[in-house]
Amino acid sequence: MSITVRYFASLREQLGISEASVPADGIHCVADVWQRAQPDRDLPPRVLAALNHAHASLEDPVRDGDEVAFFPPVTGG
């Protein structure tokens, strides 16, 4: 009954954590996952999210067992 939360790149460094697990109860969408995992911080404005390895919006529904990730704009290539 939990959701995996992952952070990457500068966001990972700022938060000082790369991965966490939060309880799934009461969580409906990606935005809820951030709030549960980082209750003292607003989601930084340019941060992107992914749900189960696919780009996601903050409103996308999340279910028990899902993996949610937050990261800054990508800079590959």
Partner: protein, 152 residues
């Protein structure tokens, strides 16, 4: 339709040449290819190294989706994306994309699309090591189509 992430140095031209040997000879007329290489300068500073962080699992998936998109938009026969991850030295290739088609226009356009989409969507992040020992995360280009940015 191949995606490869390399933690060891990437040999882009060998990779493409080897991949091409798997295609039916005589069946394609055009191959367009792009290689992005790490420069030793960026934003006026000397860069001594780079670390490429990625999201294992999602990066491969997103790159494969980008190849699927290219295939629905252009009549390409095959494509290849190779990307370095981990620690990179100046002068080393970072990325290679290639598209094979019967005609050159489709190959050129698909190749450019692969690069633009990769820079917009693939979960990869560059951190530069500077001459003074500092490190900085690379900012995304404000306008990808005009700004370039490989080697950043």
């Amino acid at each position: 339709m191949t995606v490869v992430l390399h933690s060891d140095p990437l040999e882009p031209f060998s990779l493409v040449s080897e991949h091409e040997r798997g295609l039916a000879p005589g069946s394609f007329g055009a191959c367009a290819l792009f290689v992005g290489t790490m420069r030793d300068f960026n934003d006026g500073e000397i860069v001594t190294g780079m670390t490429l962080e990625h999201y294992p699992g999602m990066t491969e998936r997103e790159l494969a989706l980008i190849e699927d998109d290219a295939r629905t938009r252009w009549p390409i026969q095959d494509s290849l994306i190779g990307h370095r991850v981990g620690r990179i030295e100046p002068g080393q290739p970072i990325v290679v994309v290639a598209a094979w088609s019967a005609h050159r226009q489709a190959a050129f356009e698909a190749c450019q699309f692969l690069m633009e989409a990769l820079k917009e969507r693939a979960p990869l992040w560059k951190q530069e090591a500077l001459e003074d020992g500092g490190r900085r995360w690379v900012s995304p280009s404000p306008n990808p189509s005009h700004q370039g940015g490989e080697g950043l």
